[in-house]
């Protein structure tokens, strides 16, 4: 015998609500298909942004710089001055100086930033942390590291790039060390990411040209990229065009292009480029000597 269960009477309002549910779902679906396109293109959306950059705000640049320095500390296998030590010989990170991304401002002996110990306690304490100057690219801490161990600096550089995508030097340094490790493809990828974040940056274009010329032996693409770099500098307003950084980049690009054209045997173009270089160079005498040597055939 089955129990006679009395079902509750459904009122009219509940019936309408049940019908509304699929209607609302369809409405939401339609709106989502419409809005998602707009949202993805909206510059204010946070999907494509880096979570850490959002969380840290402007402080992300500070951290980016800290991680850049950390990469340099890794390059020295932990032998690095703290804020309490003499930092004169580490003002410019050595990884950046070696790559040509920054002009060196270092003075003093980089092997002796630690002053002589003042007492036995300080002397004893130095046994427990690195106190010898080494480079990862030259054997590292034990003198026997493989050349590609220099890759240990890359995680910090990657983090630094993500936190401050407008710090051009980080891309150049990363690309340089990747190239040194023989990883040309990733090096190019890094420079392209840099150009995506900093369109038309002459330093990045110069480096990309170097990669094509020396890494891929593709002088046509190298020429195109360098000429694009020159055009970008020339299109800048005068004060910006003649500032230290852009003047330096223009010199670098002109010299590189002159070498490329010399290798291709375009004599007139070489002389024209060298003349332009002489006009902007800080050392015009050296450029004149280059012109003279080239004309006399001493230099190819």
């Amino acid at each position: 015998m089955t129990a006679n269960i009395e079902r509750p009477q459904r009122n009219h309002g509940a019936h309408v609500a049940e019908l509304c549910l699929p209607l609302l779902l369809v409405g939401g679906f339609c709106l989502a298909t419409n809005l998602s396109v707009w949202f993805r293109n909206w510059p204010g959306n946070r999907i494509s942004s880096n979570f850490m950059r959002i969380a840290l705000g402007d402080a992300s640049r500070l951290f980016a710089n800290q991680f850049f320095v950390k990469a340099d500390a890794y390059f020295h296998s932990g032998f690095y001055p703290s804020i309490y030590d003499n930092q004169q010989s580490f003002k410019t990170p050595h990884i950046a100086e070696d790559s040509g991304a920054m002009k060196g401002r270092n003075t003093g002996d980089e092997t002796r930033f630690l002053a002589p110990p003042r007492n036995w306690l300080e002397a004893f304490g130095r046994e427990f942390y690195p106190t010898v100057h080494t480079h990862l690219s030259e054997g590292g801490a034990n003198g026997e590291e493989r050349a590609d161990t220099v890759g240990e600096i890359l995680p910090w550089l990657k983090l630094s790039m993500e936190l401050d995508p407008n710090h051009v030097q980080t891309y150049i340094v990363t690309a340089y060390w990747l190239r040194r490790m023989g990883n040309i493809d990733d090096s190019e990828q890094v420079l392209r990411e840099g150009l995506k974040a900093n369109p038309g940056n002459p330093k990045l274009l110069f480096d990309l040209g170097r990669l094509f010329f020396h890494g891929r032996h593709d002088s046509i693409r190298a020429r195109n990229v360098w000429e694009a770099g020159l055009r970008d500098i020339n299109s800048l307003p005068l004060p910006e065009r003649t500032n230290d950084q852009n003047s330096f980049s223009r010199e670098q690009i002109l010299a590189a292009l002159a070498n490329l054209e010399a290798a291709a045997g375009n004599t007139n173009r070489v002389l024209s480029l060298l003349q332009q270089l002489k006009d902007v160079s800080a050392t015009p005498d050296a450029v004149q000597k280059w012109i003279d040597d080239y004309k006399s055939g001493k230099r190819e």
């Binding site: 309490y84 004893f124 427990f128 690195p130 801490a141 590609d148």
Partner: protein
């Protein structure tokens, strides 16, 4: 000796029941495994950043475990009044305190072993080498340092009224020593008298816990320390550990329960 061992065993069993270690271990392991799964520029042998993160987490975790465990020992016994039956047995206050110390120290040794085995396995999986001497020295010096911290925390638990105050002060002191201890002499040179003399006295008087921190040597594959240096650091740790323990015993004997 038997009494000390018995108290230590109780502390050890209690530490096994507590969940601090398990939570921190799992957290460390998860963070490290996630970080380890990242590949940078198709290079699978990049490992030093991972070693650094893992060692940092191990140091933080073990300091948290050691300080909180040692700081709770006496106050909890006092609050729950189990200290009276404990001391009613033929056991002196000094023995009870030493038992507590050794219990904590052995418990932290077990935790350290688990952490460093995980660290070693993780590092080996990437760099395919096993620098045993470096790892042994790192674990050993870390353990000696934690002995000093546990003794300091036990002393604090008798000197300060609340556990939270003791834990906070111990954390601040240990962080200060680890971060600034090495540079205190430099800082002293940059200030005038009488602060300079005070800082210099502090420099010589405080336990230099940074002597036991060889993380940089392990991370960057430096050769191991000279064993004599390791022995000297051990002796230095024993002296400071003993100092804090004797002070704690004296204080415990004089204080009313």
């Amino acid at each position: 000796m038997k009494n000390i061992r018995l108290v230590a065993q109780v502390v050890l069993k209690e530490s096994i029941r507590r969940k601090d270690f398990y939570v921190l271990f799992v957290l460390t392991a998860v963070i490290c495994l996630v970080m380890g799964s990242v590949t940078f520029y198709h290079d699978n042998q990049i490992v030093r950043y991972l070693k650094e993160i893992c060692l940092l987490l191990i140091w933080i975790s073990t300091l948290v475990i050691a300080i909180t465990m040692a700081a709770r020992q006496i106050p909890v016994e006092r609050e729950s009044r189990t200290i009276f039956p404990l001391l009613a047995k033929p056991i002196s206050r000094t023995q009870a305190l030493l038992g507590k110390f050794f219990g904590c120290w052995i418990a932290i040794a077990a935790a350290l072993s688990a952490f460093y085995i995980f660290f070693g396995l993780m590092a080996m999986s990437k760099e395919h080498s096993w620098p045993l001497a470096n790892y042994f020295q790192a674990v050993w010096l870390h353990w000696i340092m934690l002995g000093v911290v546990i003794a300091m925390s036990l002393l604090g638990s008798l000197a300060f009224s609340a556990v939270s105050a003791n834990v906070t002060i111990c954390f601040v002191a240990v962080t200060f020593i680890l971060m600034l201890g090495r540079h205190l002499e430099n800082v002293a040179m940059g200030v005038g008298e009488p602060v300079r003399s005070l800082l210099q006295v502090l420099f010589y008087a405080m336990p230099h816990l940074e002597f036991f921190d060889v993380r940089d040597l392990v991370i960057h594959d430096w050769p191991p320390l000279h064993w004599l240096t390791c022995a000297k650091a051990t002796a230095y740790g024993f002296v400071y550990g003993a100092f804090f323990l004797v002070a704690a015993c004296l204080l415990f004997r004089r204080r009313p329960l």
